[in-house]
């Protein structure tokens, strides 16, 4: 076989600009191999192209008994700091507002087959990710995507990430207007834009067609845009957006704030550009933990931030591109077949059940939106080709990905729904339960993510199976609950906005690590992620199904008529729920409950295995843990104060909890610490921060900064919003203290001075 290459085969298929970009990347790849560019520089280059790291890419893996070196043949060649060249990575493919054509889906199926592990994965931000990709394969992969109009550029790194939008935009009954063309235009405008190249952190934008539903999740983004209209000239309707800034999940979630109640469509680009400029110029660059836009908005205050943005906006010279696209907004997404009302809904019980959860009528009579449930967001190349066929035959060639890791087909004539169901069933894709309690969302977690603490996908899979088995017993209120799981505090699983959220953490029990999840309650998915939940306590991973059982049973039993889950939790109170779970939080010793020392879908003993903790260290560890548990209790009380609307008590409680946790750690080194807050801060700083003992591999000293900042604040002035953040920060600080205590125990570094 000749040594043909995709570069030659696809010459001219992509835009000249995209081809040139990939050529440059291929050259950089060669230069790195030849040792002519530094690994740090190459890492940022590949990240900006969407080529991300994956678990074990430092060439080491815990095999359940010991740490093993993965002997990749590349020797000491790296593709980033501590990132081995040959170690497989992940490629994130940005799909603006989740809209795909059949041809694009087919190409991704080919790529999954040839370079990945035969799986396409839909993320919680409407991207597609392919895993286990070798860096040497990425230029070809990028070329094949470029040939069908897809770029992975700026899918990762400190850049404008995928612009997301409601998957039902254009066909939804509650929308003000179709946001799709706006999302598309803005995504294209910002791609590679000079004003978006100098950010200290990533930047996320979301569009929503209305304020009430959840689909756009606008309020948890750096920029959230909600479609609105107002009366215009001569009886016309003027289109515009509510423009929100400074939202985000991550370690400490922030709700976006309203920058402007009506930004006309022609102002969308220049105003976004002005925000990007202010973020690039004034956003934090050194401390990654404080580098998102939300921290800048918070630091400056909304009025000052707005003034800076307005002044910047006034300086930007007009561009034709700001409005050139507006005339074409109407020409978006057309049906393939004429409308046809449903002839009958009931064919059989399975079809009925599926129809109930996976089909909803469009605004346009005679058409339906069909949701395709993808378990954990995964599907195969064969399924992808089958979906491409359906998209061509029934929908006018469009597919949309959802933030709930599913996929939707729009413009399906209602009369054709049974045929579509039959075709999906043949593909193994006719599972009911889309966007219901069984449709559990999860980030990659310990499966592939370098930062994962707990097996979010393993847990989600287990919950799916158990809940599906009971789904017949779910009434509407129970069935519509959302469960979301994140493998660590970075919150990619969006657990903060779920009814039942789970956040991966770990605990040390007599020298062994136990995977846990924090149980997070009170989040609101609707109203564009209208409210963030708070943790009520950590439970071993293996007992989370029991947690779900108890909470959902209580809800089914004790809710009053028509009461929604959020209102129920508020009425019953988190204390009662926590009390109900307390017995599950207690972890027996290893010998009595080995299963708790393993995570879901992973037979390896969790963590780094047996550690020789001596008697003396063991005793001291228990003293430290006593203090940490006290801190946990106090932070929980702070969240209760928050619920009562007592901001000052909540803020003070958050600080008190951090002080208890800090003191617990300090007492491992000196018993003579006392209760004076200033002394605790000082000792903690000297013994744990300056020495970096408290530092996390990835987060560094981030959580200690929360503590120092809170200790220096006047808490009498705390607002409810402030207090919410402080409680979140205190929870993270305590988690970090637990992790620190574990590390020290394992290193045998607990002996008091």
């Amino acid at each position: 076989m000749d040594d043909v290459r995709w570069k030659q085969r696809l010459a001219g298929a992509a835009s000249a600009e995209l081809e040139a970009e990939i050529d440059v990347f291929e050259t950089q790849l060669r230069l790195r191999k030849d040792g002519k560019i530094e690994d740090k520089l190459f890492a940022e280059t590949r990240l900006r192209r969407g080529a991300y790291g994956q678990r074990y890419d430092n060439g080491r893996r815990y095999d359940g008994e010991k740490d093993q070196t993965i002997a990749f043949p590349c020797g000491d060649l790296t593709k980033g700091p501590e990132t081995v060249w040959d170690a497989p990575g992940m490629v994130r493919i940005k799909i603006p507002f989740g809209a795909l054509t059949a041809t694009q889906l087919e190409v991704m199926a080919d790529l999954a087959e040839e370079y990945s592990d035969d799986i396409l994965h839909v993320t919680t931000r409407q991207d597609i990710q392919l895993h286990f990709i070798h860096i040497d394969d990425t230029p070809d992969l990028f070329r094949r995507l470029a040939a069908v109009g897809i770029t992975t550029r700026e899918a990762c790194g400190n850049s404008v990430r995928n612009v997301t939008g409601c998957p039902v935009a254009g066909v939804c009954k509650t929308e003000a207007f179709d946001i799709s063309p706006y999302a598309k235009a803005l995504a294209h405008y910002l791609l590679g834009h000079p004003d978006t190249q100098d950010f200290g952190r990533k930047f996320k934008i979301a569009f929503s067609g209305c304020a009430t539903e959840a689909c756009g999740l606008a309020l948890m983004h750096d920029i959230g845009l909600v479609a609105v209209t107002r009366p215009g000239d001569a009886g016309a309707t003027e289109r515009g957006f509510e423009f929100y800034v400074g939202g985000g999940l991550g370690a400490v979630p922030h709700q976006a704030l309203l920058l402007d109640g009506f930004v006309p469509e022609a102002e969308l680009m220049p105003l976004t550009q002005a925000v990007c400029r202010i973020f690039a110029r004034h956003g934090e660059k050194q401390n990654r933990a404080r580098a998102r836009l939300k921290f800048l908005v918070k630091k400056l205050g909304l009025p000052a931030f707005k003034q800076m943005v307005d002044e910047e906006r006034a300086k930007i010279p007009p561009e034709a591109r700001w409005s050139a696209w507006i005339d074409s907004v109407a020409a978006h997404d057309q049906p393939k077949r004429p409308p046809a009302p449903a002839l009958r809904k009931a064919g059989d019980a399975a079809l009925d059940a599926w129809w109930q959860t996976n089909v909803r009528p469009q605004r346009q009579p005679g058409y339906a939106v069909v949701s395709v449930t993808l378990p954990l967001g995964d599907f195969t190349p064969d399924q992808a080709r089958g979906l491409a066929d359906l998209a061509r035959e029934y929908t006018g060639d469009t597919i949309r990905l959802t933030v709930e890791q599913n996929l939707v087909l729009r413009w399906v004539p209602e009369a054709d729904v049974p045929q579509v169901y039959a075709r999906l069933a043949a593909l193994g894709l006719a599972e009911p339960g889309a966007e219901s309690i069984v449709d559990v969302t999860a980030c990659p977690g310990t499966d592939t993510c370098k930062l994962g603490i707990s097996a979010s996908r393993g847990l989600a899979g287990e919950l799916r199976t158990r809940l599906a088995a009971r789904s017949a017993g779910h009434d509407e209120a129970l069935g519509s609950l959302r469960i979301k799981v994140s493998g660590c505090f970075n919150s990619c699983g969006q657990h903060h906005v779920a009814d039942l959220g789970f956040l991966g953490v770990q605990r040390n029990v007599e020298g062994r690590r136990v995977p846990h999840f924090q149980v997070v309650l009170g989040g609101q998915w609707t109203h564009n992620a209208g409210q963030f939940g708070l943790a009520i306590g950590a439970v071993p991973s293996k007992r989370i199904p029991e947690v779900v059982d108890r909470i959902t049973s209580l809800f089914a039993r004790e809710r009053s008529s028509g009461e929604r889950f959020g209102a129920f939790i508020k009425r019953v109170g988190k204390s009662k729920i926590r009390d109900m779970l307390t017995d599950l939080m207690d972890v027996p010793p290893y010998e009595q409950a080995r299963e708790l020392y393993h995570d879901w879908a992973d037979p390896r003993e969790y963590g780094i295995g047996d550690i020789g903790v001596g008697e003396c260290a063991g005793e001291i560890v228990s003293v430290a843990k006593f203090g940490l548990a006290d801190g946990e209790r106090v932070v929980f009380e702070a969240s209760e104060a928050l619920e009562r609307g007592d901001a000052v008590a909540a803020a003070k409680g958050a600080l008190a909890a951090m002080l208890l946790a800090a003191k617990a750690l300090v007492r491992q080194q000196t018993f003579d610490i006392g209760d004076d807050p200033a002394r605790i801060v000082e000792e903690f700083r000297a013994r744990f921060y300056d020495t970096k003992l408290f530092f996390d591999t990835y987060a560094g000293g981030k959580f200690a900064h929360y503590f120092f900042a809170l200790a220096a604040r006047d808490l009498q002035a705390a607002t409810l919003d402030d207090a919410h953040h402080y409680v979140e920060e205190a929870q993270l600080f305590i988690e970090a203290a637990y992790a620190c205590e574990t590390r020290m125990a394992q290193a045998g570094a607990t002996a008091p001075a």
Binding site: K33, E38, D63, Q68, I70, F72, L77, D117, D118, P375
Partner: protein, 199 residues
Amino acid sequence: MNPHPQANPAVHTIHHAFKLPLVGESAIALDEFIPIFHGWIRNRALADEVMIDVADYAHVHGGPGVLLVCHEGHYVVDRSRNLLGLAYHRRRGQPLADGTADATLALRRLIRAARLLADDPALAGRAVFDTTRLELRVLDRLRAPNDDAGWAAVQPSLRGAIAAVWGHEGALERHVGDPRAPLSAWARLPATALAALHA
């Protein structure tokens, strides 16, 4: 900084993917393979592979149920195309003398892994392979497109690999299905004990 010669493969490796059917669809649950593959990594059971991790896709209908991810290829307890079997998908590695040598290496690795499963005490003899059938695919649409020319190009090496392992060419038939799928074929082979194959 010095160049890294070993990271510059000059010629490419053909991505052969072979699947040997498992007899009895329901004899073994997919999750039984997870600890076995973890054990292979722990004990370095495949001496010439750099084993990386185990991926669990049992929740995906008709997909790659459980994978042992290795540097040169993946071992997959695969349910694709309505057929449960053990597959080996070669992805990279030192290119060999020709396509036949490449294909033979991939096929031998598959057979070796099948023998390990067949002998695994945890499966207690339930991993029984059907050696009379073999699914063959070439996961490379550039060099082996799913058309007559692609088929003509790869056929000799596929035949050569089968002959090297079974000692018999069997009957090889191209599978003409979805033109978008990778080039694929089926081999019908004389019944041979797994242990008697030349792996």
